[in-house]
Structures are given as C-alpha cells and as structure tokens.
C-alpha cells in the first residue's frame, strides 16, 4: 500500500523514519532560506533591506527550526529506520507511540510556522531569554507561538526517547549483548537517556513562561521577586545536554561508517562507548558556561570552567579513536566516508573554539559575538550535519534499494565543505573585531563588512550544495543502480537483510556472536541463512492505526487553544485527546479480538 491513508496510519518504523527525514528535509530548506535572507541583509553595513522586526523573527526561527525541526528529527529519522535493523528487531518497542511522536513533531512544527502567516513569528531568539519574553516587553503573540510550539514538539522527543530506550534494552536479538551493539545504536541509546531527562526541564521552563503570559504568574516578573536568571538556568540545564543530543547521533553514525570504509573494526570500541556515556553524564554539569557574563560570581564561574574543560577530554578521545581506526586501514573514499572525514577535520575546529569559550575571561569577549556563532555552526553544521550527510549516503541503499550517485555525492561534499568554511570561518574575525550576534545591522565603522560578505557568498554556495543533495536524492532514488543487501561490505546486522527490507525486517531473529557479525565468515553464513531466508509464513506485524495521528492532533489542538487565553477552551481539546487515547488503549495492535492480546 502506498496511498496517503497507509502513510497516515503507518506504525512501521521504516516508514516513520522516512516521514521524519522528509519533513526535516523540508524544514532544512525553510531554515536555510531564513539564513540566506539574514546573510543578504548583512551584506552591507547599515543596510535595511528588511525591517528590524522581520530580521529578529528570521534569526529566531532559523535557530529554532534548525535545532528542533531539522537536526533533532533528522537524527530521529535514522534512529527509527536503522536501530531496529542494527539490533535485529522487527520494529521498535512501541510502534504506535512511534507514530504519535512523528505526528506531534509535525503538527507542533507546523503550528509554530503558522505564525509566519499572521506576521508574528517568534522574535526573541532561539533561547528566548526572560524578561524580554514577558507580556510587558513582548505583548504580541510571537512568544506565545514559540512557547506553545516548542512545548508540543518537546513531547515528541520524550516519547521517542522512551521508545528507543525500551527498544534497545528489550529487543536486541539473541546474543546481541550491549557491548556488541553497533556504535550508532549505542549513541542512540545514550542520546535517548539525555532526551528523556533534559526535555522535561525545558518543558517546565516553558510552562512557567506560559503561566506568566497567560495567567499572570510571576516566575520571571522582577517586580514580584521573579528572577529572569532562573530562565537562563532552566534553559541551559536543558540547552547544554541538548547539544549532546545533537552531536552524539552523528558521532555514532561516523563510528559505523569509518570502519566500513577502512575495512577495519572501530579502534577502541569500549572506550568510544564509555566516552559517549561520559559525555552524556558530564553534559549535565556544564550548563552555566553559557552564563559566564551573567554575573554568577567567581566560584560558580570556576566550577563551570573546570567541568567544561573536562568534557573536552572524552570528545578528543573519540577523535583519536576515529583516526586510529583509519590508520593502517584500506580507505575507500565514498561520499559517506568523505563526510565522515570532513566531520573529524571540521568538528575539531569547532571543538577547539569551544575550548576557548570554556576559559571564562576569554569568553567575556567572545560570548554573544559572531565568534560564538562561528563556534556553534562549526560543531552543528560541521559536526552534526556532516554526520547526518554521512549517514544518509551510507544507509541510502538500505532504505531505497538503490545506490546513491557517487559523482553527485562528491559534488555535494566539496560544495558543502567549501561553502560551509567560507560561510563560517570569517565569523571568527567579525566576532573578534566586535560584531555582536543577533544584530539586524552593524556600524560601518566596525570595518567588518568584508567578513560578512565572504560569509554571504559562502552561504549561497552551501545552499547550492543542499540543492545538489536534494537532486541526488531524487535522482538516485529513481534511477540509481540497484543495491543488494550489503553493497558496502559492512559488518553490522542491517546489512544482512534485503535492500529495502521486508516490512517485517527479519523472517526470524538471528543469533549474534560478535560485534561485526558479517565480518566473521562462519557467523555471517549462520546469520544470513536466517535473515535472507524467505519464510513460509510472514511474521505477524502490528496493524496500521488511526489513533496516533488523532491523539497528536488533539494534543496540538489542546496546546494551541491555550492561546485563546480562556482557561476552559483547551479543556475541550483535552477531552478529545483523552477520547482518542482511550480508543488507542482498547485497540488491539495485532487485530485479533480486543483484549486477547496485551500490547
């Protein structure tokens, strides 16, 4: 079935993964266009091509979109598609919950972007500091859209985290001990824990702000004793783990790609795993390095200097392990491998400018300038996105059954690498020379016009790379060379089944004995005897369900109705959501008589 209804009711992790990917790809272009308008406005000093208000909306939505509607869901697309295949599972632990997460993400994102159509997109930056976001200083609906949209999208992440933790704990194939799992699955596991613990914090921060705005609460109202610094603490308690949520999946992806195209196993597998776990943990202890200018005092500042410097160490260890994996190997420069190498080279720059920021007094010059903008784009675009591109080219054959075009892939890579560096490297200079961030325009006296112009040109080159990427996707999916189960000769379980997989993934569950099942000849034969067999009877899979999209619609509606400001109106949405949850609870996912199977 490929009709619309089948997509709306699907609970298949592979389809949900594709939906996540295509949706995040759409928002990638939305966020990219927002960025290019920004870059054009910044082409000349003291220029006013667009109004300050529109500019503030653009950079707010660019950041919010790229973090919450692109980087996170695109990683989730890979969690969805790849993790069950890597651990030898037929689907995730809670397929309908999985669908729910997607629909909530979609509706929440659409809701926030609907604000464009009423000319009131969020405009207080992606970090939304109080008390600028209070009713007093932001009386319009812009901040309401932001608070509500982000709250909705957050729910999707928590539910997804629960789903993937359960999946990885409980649905590993026989013999797949934790220390035999592919690195990408490991990083998904760690990321899911960070998601499940960090998102509730920003949920509360947003709830407090919502109560201030809709019900006159005093959480960030200074006249009543509320402290805007509380927002900063809550936001960054979430915000810093959030950046590890962003990067760990990409680290996981290249940890699978690099061994595949070096024809050697990952060097220091346990160390890379523990480094990831450690990063997940320590990531909770560094948040106030975003607040070095807030006046926390020397003792607090010093603590966060120390913790932030410490977290650089496991990150560096991973880089060395990737280098050691390639060392002595037989390196094949597929597009996936190029992007992985690109990540190692470019993320290092971003990580090192991060070390500079970790030195608090130095950060007092760099914070809130284009130097920081350079830093985080190096780690997010050069790190997160490069990893996602690597994962894309790597798993493309598995998803589509066709090989990605390597020539177009290389063009994508080089255009992206050149464009990206031209776009963001000059920002180190404009930042050092005094250009703050979030500025609609800048004085000609600053003399930073040249750096801005270089960035703008780089931005368009990077945009061209994105177009090449999209074109490659379409073309290769349609007419790429057919791919077998394991076109790369890779080691892990997802490469033991056909491309694309049957809807049930595995006819029966294989037994795993090592970390690289397909690289040990005897094990490979045993596994493929199971995974490539055609079963007499197809395994029973959960049936499609209409309730996830309805619950998602109900939840979105409930939150959106909060904007009416009338306390009982959202309750109607809640009632509808409750009804849909009930129907879901009593639905039998396998379609037998209701109540006969507990699922």
């Amino acid at each position: 079935m490929t009709n619309l209804w089948s997509w709306i009711t699907t609970v298949d992790h592979k389809r949900i993964g594709v939906m996540y990917f295509l949706t995040s790809l759409f928002f990638f272009f939305v966020g990219g266009i927002e960025a290019l308008v920004i870059r054009v406005q910044l082409w000349k000093a003291e220029q006013a091509l667009i109004s300050a208000e529109l500019y503030n909306q653009l950079f707010t939505m660019h950041g919010t979109t790229m973090v919450f509607m692109v980087a996170m869901p695109m990683a989730v697309a890979f969690f969805n598609y790849v993790v069950p295949l890597q651990i030898g599972a037929r689907d995730v632990a809670f397929p309908r919950l999985n669908a729910l997460s997607y629909w909530i993400f979609l509706f929440g994102s659409l809701f926030m972007n609907a604000s464009w159509f009423v000319g009131s997109a969020p405009n207080t930056s992606w970090v939304g500091y109080a008390n600028l976001t209070s009713l007093q200083f932001s009386p319009g609906p812009n901040v309401d859209f932001w608070v509500i949209g982000l709250s909705i999208v957050g729910i999707a992440s928590i539910l997804g985290g629960v789903n993937f933790i359960t999946t990885i704990v409980n649905l590993r194939a026989p013999g797949m001990k934790f220390m035999r799992m592919p690195l990408f699955t490991w990083m998904t596991f760690v990321t899911s824990f960070v998601l499940v613990t960090a998102i509730p914090v920003i949920a509360v921060a947003l709830i407090l702000l919502a109560f201030d705005r809709f019900f006159d609460a005093n959480f960030y109202v200074t006249a009543a004793g509320g402290d805007p610094i509380l927002w900063q603490h809550l936001f960054w308690l979430f915000g810093h783990p959030e950046v590890y949520i962003l990067i760990l999946p990409s680290f996981g992806m290249i940890s699978d790609v690099i061994p595949a195209f070096s024809r050697k196993p990952l060097f220091g597998y346990p160390v890379v795993v523990y480094a990831g776990v450690l990063i997940g943990f320590i990531g909770w202890g560094v948040w106030s390095h975003h607040m070095f200018t807030s006046g926390l005092g020397p003792i607090a500042d010093s603590f966060f200097v120390a913790s932030t410097m410490i977290i650089a160490i496991p990150t560096g260890v991973k880089i060395f392990n990737w280098l050691a994996t390639m060392w002595g190997g037989s390196i094949r420069f597929t597009t996936a491998m190029l992007f992985s190498i690109g990540l190692v080279a470019v993320f290092t720059i971003g990580g090192l400018s991060g070390v500079m920021h970790a030195s608090a007094p130095v950060d007092l010059q760099q914070h809130d300038t284009y130097f920081v903008v350079a830093h985080f784009h190096y780690v997010i675009v050069g790190g997160v996105m490069m990893g996602l591109f690597a994962g894309f080219y790597y798993w493309f054959p598995k998803v589509t059954g066709r090989m990605p075009d390597e020539t177009l892939g290389k063009i994508h890579f080089w255009l992206a690498l050149i464009g990206f560096n031209l776009l963001f490297f000059p920002m180190h200079f404009s930042g050092i020379y005094g250009m703050p961030r979030r500025t609609w325009t800048y004085s000609a006296e600053l003399n930073v016009e040249l750096w801005n112009q270089l960035s703008t040109v780089g931005g368009f080159i990077f945009g061209a790379a994105a177009v090449v990427w999209a074109w490659n996707m379409i073309r290769s999916a349609r007419s790429g060379a057919p791919a077998g189960p394991n076109p790369w000769g890779a080691a892990t379980l997802e490469w033991s089944i056909p491309s694309p997989p049957h809807h049930y993934n595995f006819p029966s569950l294989p037994v795993v004995r090592t970390r690289e099942p397909l690289w040990h000849e005897e094990e490979r034969r045993e596994v493929e005897a199971v995974t490539l067999a055609e079963p007499e009877r197809e395994p029973e899979m959960p049936r499609p369900s209409f309730w996830p999209i309805l619950v998602a619609a109900g939840a979105t509606l409930t939150w959106a109705l909060v904007m009416t400001g009338i306390w009982w109106v959202p309750l109607t949405g809640l009632a509808f959501t409750g009804f849909a949850i009930f129907m879901w609870a009593f639905e039998n996912p396998f379609g037998k008589k209701a109540g006969a199977h507990h699922g």
Partner: protein, 398 residues
Amino acid sequence: MPLLLAACGSEYPQSSIDPKTDFAEIIHGLYVSVFWWTMVILAVVWILLAYILVRFRERPDQPLPRQIRGHLGMEIGWTIGPAIIVVAIAVPTIQAVFATQRGDPDNAMVVEVVGHQFWWEFRYGEAGVVTANELHLPVGRPVSLRLSSADVIHSFWVPQLGGKRDVNPVVRRPEGEEVSATWLHFTIREPGVYMGQCAEFCGESHSLMGMRVVAESEEQFQAWLTDMGGSAAASGEPAAAAAPDTSAVPDTTAAADTVPAGGDTTAAAPASDTAAGPPAGQPAPAAPAGEPQAGDALVTEGRDVFLRSTCVACHAIGGTSAQGQVGPNLTLLGRRSTIASGWMENTPENLERWITSPRSVKPGVLMPGIAEAGGNWPATNLSAEQVGAVAAYLSSLR
C-alpha cells in the same frame, strides 16, 4: 596570528584584541595562550589526518588490513595528554576569573550604568552627574561599573576596555534593597574614544544600542564633571578650571564637525541659565573658537520650544527646568560625538532627523516624533522650523 590581528587593531575600533585596560590585557594574554594550545591540537589532528588519507588509501588488490581493535596504552596516552593541556589552560583561567572579579573597593570610582531599551544611562553618584550614551572615564584610576537594567537584560560591552557583563533587571526583594547588580572592574591605560554596544538581544533596536567611552586625563575628566554640573569636591580633586586642552583626546570615530571635549574660551552660552549651573567663578563652557556661532535667536527659540513641549517629560538638561528622568539626559549634548546611542554623528542635520522621526532611525524606540506617537506620548506636532530650532539649541549645549 593574534599579534598580526592586533596590529590591525586601529582599523577595528571595536576590536576585542586591542586591550586598553588591565582587565582587557589579562583577557588578551589568556586568549593568546589558549589560542596557541588549540593550534597545537589542531595541527596534531590535521597532520595525522592528512597523513592517514594519503598513506592508507585503498589500493587495488590490497589484502585485508590488520584488524586491530584497540590499544590501552594509546588510549591512556591520548587521554592524559589532552588532560594536561586542559589543566594548563584551566589554572591560569581560574586565576584570572578571581583576579578580574575582585575590583578595588577602596580606591575605585564607581559609576552606575543603567541599561534601557535602547540607550545607556551613566550616573556618577558621588559627583551627582547623570549622562547618557557617552561615558567619560579617567585614565589611570580604578573604575568599577555597577550595572543594572531598567527593563530587560542588556550587556555592556566595550571590547577595548575588556569583556562584557550582562546588565540584569533589578529583582525586587522582600526586605529592602538587595539589588541584583553586576560589576565590571578595570583601570584604563590609554586615553582615547572607545566604541561599544549592547551585546544581549534586547528587542527591536538591539543592534543600534551603541555607546562611546571617552577615556581622558584626570584633569579633563574633572573638568567634564564640573561642566556637567557636578561637584568634583566629592572625589577630593580640586574643581578644575576649564584649562587649555594640552593632552589630545583622539577622536578617531567622530566626524569633522565634532566638538573636542573641554573648550577653553569663554563666551555667552545659553546652556545654563539658572543658578544651578557651574559654581560662580567657573568660566562657563563655550563653543571653541572657529565654530560657527549658532544664531542666538534660533537657539533661544529652540530652547523655548524644548522647554514648552513634551520633551521635558522624558529629558533633563542641567541648569534648566527640564528634569525628565525617563529618557537620556541631554546636558552638554552638543559636546557628544554621537547621538542615538552611538548610531549617528552628532550634527544638527542628524538631530533634526532624529527629532522628526526617531523610529526611522531606531525602530521600536519609545520617543515620539513630530507625526508619530511613541511610548506613552502622542506625536509632538512640531513644525519643521521648530525642529530646526530645537536641533540648534541642543547643538549649542556645550
């Protein structure tokens, strides 16, 4: 590389690698050392990577590489190595954190900085002087800036004076006056005019919330304080006569018709016309020789329009009946090199433009124009001629 960049410092008036204070120098020194450490690490990683990509590329008919899974010694090595570098960076960092946040409570001159949307207020408590957007400070004396906001979070940043510090709104506390102010401490080494701007997104015109810091000799500073109507006696310095300007105050950022601080000729000046002006015996500050004399009649008319209009609801001018506290203090406005918080040169034309329509310069500003309401005030409805007169009056305030 940072030295190379620093050499270009004079071309970059808001450069963060052109330190002019002890505070900025500590930061700069730390930055240079951290920079070189990071370059070392970058070089190691990139050189290794480059070597790997060349040496270990796939060759035809290559056998399977040795399947090495790890090496404990290397893991320890590349954990300890970076850890040592981290300590080498962290120790001086933490020392600098404490050193730069100590201040000098016994000797420092405290200036209160109040952030507003979208301008800066400066209050010299001891001397009783209030001004806006142009901060005068003495060279060679410890200064402590006490920062607080009247509305949202701003950030005070003059890169050549050192790092930035957020300007937080005052949180009301149950008992009394514990105010959540933040601080910056520094001693300026070199006279000059330094550029800065707000560095925490604060609303529509955040990017236009600039400022200038005029760092001048102690004598010039005292003279300025006195001219502003302050009592220099509070700081123990004798009230300085308006002495000839021997130490140049380089005016690198303002345009040709900017008035250097501290004029030295006496002339009838309409700036202060009540007893609240400078103490008797002080020569009244005046337009330096060579400046075209603004027509007395136009200036007088401008003063009358100003004092009669809603201007006085927000603005104060020392020595007049205008004592509004809501907006920037305009005492000696004519001497400032810029207006609109550093965004425009201080010329009569720009003043007229501003008074006519502030929002055309700074969207979101709370000041009304002649045909647009602003803040809580209706349009001022001044005629173009009246605007010209007011601009002439304000320009004459030297």
